[in-house]
Amino acid sequence: MPFPAHIRPDHDETLVVRLAADDLAPRELDAVRAQVVECPACAQLLIDLRSIASATAELPTPRRVRDFRLTEADAVRLRPAGWRGLLARFGSPGFAFVKPLAGGLAALGIAGLILASFPLGFGASSSGVATRDLTAAGGSASAAPAAAPGGSGDGRSFGGPVAAPGGSGGVGTSSDNGDGVTGPASGPEVAGAPGATDKGAPTDASAGRDQATNGGRPSTLVVLSIVLLAAAIVLAGLRLIGRRLA
C-alpha cells in the first residue's frame, strides 16, 4: 500500500504501525517517537491504528446458530475400522515423517539410477567394464593383456581403474559385437592397457548400458535404486490414502 498522502516519503510508516502495536525494539523507540512528534500525518496514523485495533477488539461476538456436538452416527462414520483404520493411521500427524522419508528414498533411488546410467564406473558390473575395455583394446578379447583375477561379475564391484594381471573368465568369452554390449566377462577395468585405442571404443550410451547391466542382469545399484523408488512410492501412497481416509 502506498504511503498515505500526507506522510513524508522519508518517514517509514511501517515503524509507526509497529509503534501502534507496541512492537518496537527499545533502540527504535526514540527515533519513531521523534518522527511522530514532528510529523502530524504520522501522529494521525498512530491514533487511527490504535483506534482501529481497539474497535476491532470490541466487535460484537457472533452467536453460534448450531450445536456442534457429534452424534453416535457421526462417531461411527468418522472412526474407520479394520484395514481402513489401519490405513487411516498413516494420515495422522504422528506419521508426518512418512512424507519426507518417501522424498528422501525417492531422491536416493533417482540418484542411484542416474549414477548407474553414467559411465563413471558406479554400479557397473565388473564384467561389463572389463569387456568394454577388452573391446576397446583391439576388437578382440584375446588381445587384452590382462583382466582381473577372480572377477566375479556379480555387480558388487564399483570398478575403479585397477590394473590387474591375469584375466580369466572374460577372455575368450566376450563377444565383440561392436556396440559394447557383450557377454559375461570378469575383472575390473584395466587402465592404460597396451594397445588400447579409441578404435572400437563403445559410445557413452552403450557404456552406460554396460554398467547398468550384467550380461542382461541389472546391477546391484540399479536394483537397490528401484527398490528405494518403489518403497518411496508405497510410503507416499500410504500417506495419501491415509490422509484421505482421515
Binding site: M1, P4, E13, T14, V17, R18, A20, A21, D23, L45, I47, D48, L49, S51, I52, A53, A55, T56, A57, E58, L59, P60, T61, P62, R63, R64, V65, R66, D67, F68, R69, L70, E72, D74, A75, L78, R79, A88, R89, S92, P93, G94, A246
Partner: protein, 202 residues
C-alpha cells in the same frame, strides 16, 4: 500415542480438564468429546465466523473442524487442547475461505437479525449504541476487504487475544510473517476506512 495423563506440571484447571476429556475421548467415550465441544464451541464459532464472513459457511467450517478433531484424536500430542482446537478451526476456516472464493456470497449478514450480540451494559445509551453499531458495521465490512491471511491474523490477535507465537503455531507461519500480516492488515483497514475514520476518532 502420547501419554496425556495430566501431570502436576499442568497447573491450569481448564487445561487439566481438557486433557482428561481428550484422554477419555481417545478411549472411545463420545460423551467426553462432546463435553469438549460444549466447552469450546462458542469461542471457536466466534473465531471462525470472523474469518469466514458467511455464517452458514462458518458453521459448516466449525462442524468440519470438530469432525477433524475427532478423527485425529490419536494425533494430539499433548500441550494446549484449546490451541489444538483453534489450529484445526483456523485451517477449516482457511479451507472455507478458499471455497468461498469460488462461490462468493453476501458477506457479513450479522446485522440483519438479532443473533449477533452487540455489547451492552453501562454504555447502553441509545446514541452510543447507534454509534457502536455503525462502527461495527463499517469495521466488519472493512475486515472482509483485507486478505484472508491478514484477517485471520487480526482476528486471532485483536479479537481472540492470542499472542504472536501462538498465532504463528496455529497458522503454520513464522513469527515475522504473523507480525507483518497484522501490521499490513491494520494499514489495509485504515485505508478502507479512510472516509469513515471519524467514527473511530470520536
Amino acid at each position: 500415542m502420547a501419554d496425556l495423563r495430566p501431570s502436576a506440571a499442568v497447573d491450569d484447571p481448564a487445561q487439566r480438564r481438557d486433557l482428561i476429556l481428550i484422554e477419555r475421548a481417545r478411549g472411545g467415550d463420545l460423551d467426553a468429546f462432546n463435553d469438549l465441544v460444549l466447552l469450546h464451541q462458542d469461542q471457536l464459532f466466534a473465531l471462525v465466523a470472523r474469518m469466514v464472513p458467511d455464517r452458514d459457511q462458518a458453521s459448516d467450517a466449525v462442524q468440519e473442524a470438530f469432525f477433524s478433531a475427532y478423527r485425529n484424536l490419536a494425533g494430539f500430542r499433548g500441550g494446549s487442547v484449546k490451541s489444538w482446537l483453534n489450529r484445526i478451526c483456523v485451517n477449516a476456516a482457511m479451507d472455507a475461505q478458499r471455497a468461498r472464493k469460488r462461490r462468493p456470497v453476501q458477506p457479513y449478514p450479522e446485522f440483519e437479525d438479532d443473533s449477533w450480540q452487540p455489547p451492552t451494559g453501562e454504555e447502553a445509551d441509545p446514541e452510543r449504541q447507534v454509534l457502536t453499531a455503525e462502527r461495527s458495521s463499517v469495521l466488519t465490512a472493512a475486515l472482509a476487504g483485507i486478505t484472508p491471511d491478514q484477517r485471520a491474523a487480526i482476528v486471532l490477535f485483536d479479537i481472540q487475544g492470542f499472542d504472536y507465537a501462538e498465532i504463528a503455531e496455529m497458522t503454520g507461519v513464522s513469527l515475522g510473517t504473523v507480525k507483518s500480516r497484522i501490521h499490513r492488515g491494520r494499514l489495509g483497514l485504515r485505508g478502507l476506512l479512510e472516509d469513515r475514520m471519524e467514527l473511530f476518532r470520536g
